[in-house]
Amino acid sequence: MKKIFNVLLGVVTSIGGFVEAGSISTAAQGGAEFGFALLWAIALATIILAMLAEMAGRVATVGRRSMAAAVRERFGFHYQMIPLGAELMIDLLLLAAEIGGVAVAIKLLTGIGFQWWILPVGLAVWLVIWFGNFTVIEDGVGLLGMVTIAFVVAAWRLQPPLNSVATGFLPSLPNHDLTRYAFLTVSIVGATVSPYLLNFYSSGAIEEKWTEPDLWINRVTCYLGMGFGSIVSMGVLITAAVVLGPLHVQVNSYEQAALMFVPVFGRWAVLLFACALGVGCFGAAIEITLNAGYVLAQSFGWPWGVDKPRRDTARFCAAFTLVLLLALMVGILGFDPLQMTLISVALTVVVMPLMVLPFLVLMNDEQYVKTHTSGAFGNGFLAVLTILGALMALVVIPLEVFGG
């Protein structure tokens, strides 16, 4: 009974923790500019994320190694340093963007410039990690994140034409701005399949001490949790499509994105949008900060874990604190949070093939997954994803220049 409760909690927290700066901004831009046409990209990206996370969870549960540790051990440091460097770079930019997202949300509520909020938000992130344990962090963030359901409620209340919504799930070419469309497609994938999610998830499986009999929990959390979570992302896209689309608004700032709530929530619109954005980004900021500590500690073999006493994991604590401080410096320098999000999303796509390729080897290595190796379907998926990832990596920089 307790286990079922924990699984349900896991699914709920996955929903609450699904959207953050990257997914909100890319889905809002996609909806405002191309109506429902990019819903398929969110669905595809979610399937990719759920399958990769399930595999990362399997390696962690069976092989007792997080992705960072498994990649270093199986491929050696020469290979690992490239995805590791890229992941830290992405974590840094995305963390600055998420903290910026929270700061913008507070600005929407208070009217005081967002740069004043960057340091207090950073301090709050650090305090939650410093004083919290894994369950408090994971469940607290996820449960607070239920406020993001507002996006789904908004989409529902707007009563979008269902046949048009359904058509959006079929990949199609737009009748205008093909480059921009391709750019947003790739951005949605990059924002959804973020490397920090995979390593954070596999580290979580180790923090929560999952063992082989828990593999079903891993599957349920990934497929149900992330599947339902993507509905929140789709809610953002649909709401933006219905409200902002006809106004021909290009979402260049979160302030513009907030307008999408006005027809549904009236005078509560800004408050609700700010809460959804703020909580979504705050949760992601905590996860990214922790993840930076995880990848560094796991790569270099230091003791790690947010459930362990801080005195026993000093380097791990120093590592996440340092990355958080660097991200705050980036934030204070005054880069636009939305622009930073889009750059980190593009960078994610560039390293996607390097991130996916290790899965293909690890999921067939009995040292890591024992008898739970991938079948023909899993391997076929990874092979296709590697090729697709390589194609997206090739086009993302030109797309960023011409379509971004």
Partner: protein, 118 residues
């Protein structure tokens, strides 16, 4: 034994299961006419840097010197102390017998000054 595959990058734990780090480098004794003999395992950023590029290794070592760690790192573990090689490499030493925890201890003394450290 395939040294690169079986040793490099693996986790090293002491006799109490305490994590010391990963095998960042190895020391081989090479004599003409004899097969190379493994003598030590190395842990530390400078050893890792050397593997990527000797210049990077020198820079990292210079940085360690500047931080007063030069004589303590990289940490050398005599390969006769290897007890078991499995998922991890278990050695017949305790962390205190090596200099593996020096950085951890230094950071710990700072962390303990923060409120709420446990």
């Amino acid at each position: 034994m395939d040294v690169a595959h079986d040793l490099l990058d693996k986790h090293i734990v002491d006799r109490n299961g305490h994590e010391l780090g990963r095998v960042d480098g190895i020391v081989l004794d090479v004599r003409p006419g004899e097969p190379p003999k493994l003598t030590d395992l190395l842990i530390g950023a400078s050893a890792l840097g050397c593997r990527v590029n000797p210049t990077i290794g020198r820079w990292v070592h210079a940085l360690e010197h500047a931080l007063g760690l030069g004589h303590l790192r990289p940490i050398r573990i005599d390969c006769t102390r290897i007890e078991e090689i499995d998922d991890k490499i278990k050695i017949d030493l305790s962390a205190g017998d090596t200099t593996a925890d020096v950085v951890e201890q230094r950071i710990r003394t700072w962390l303990l000054k923060l409120p709420g450290s446990r």
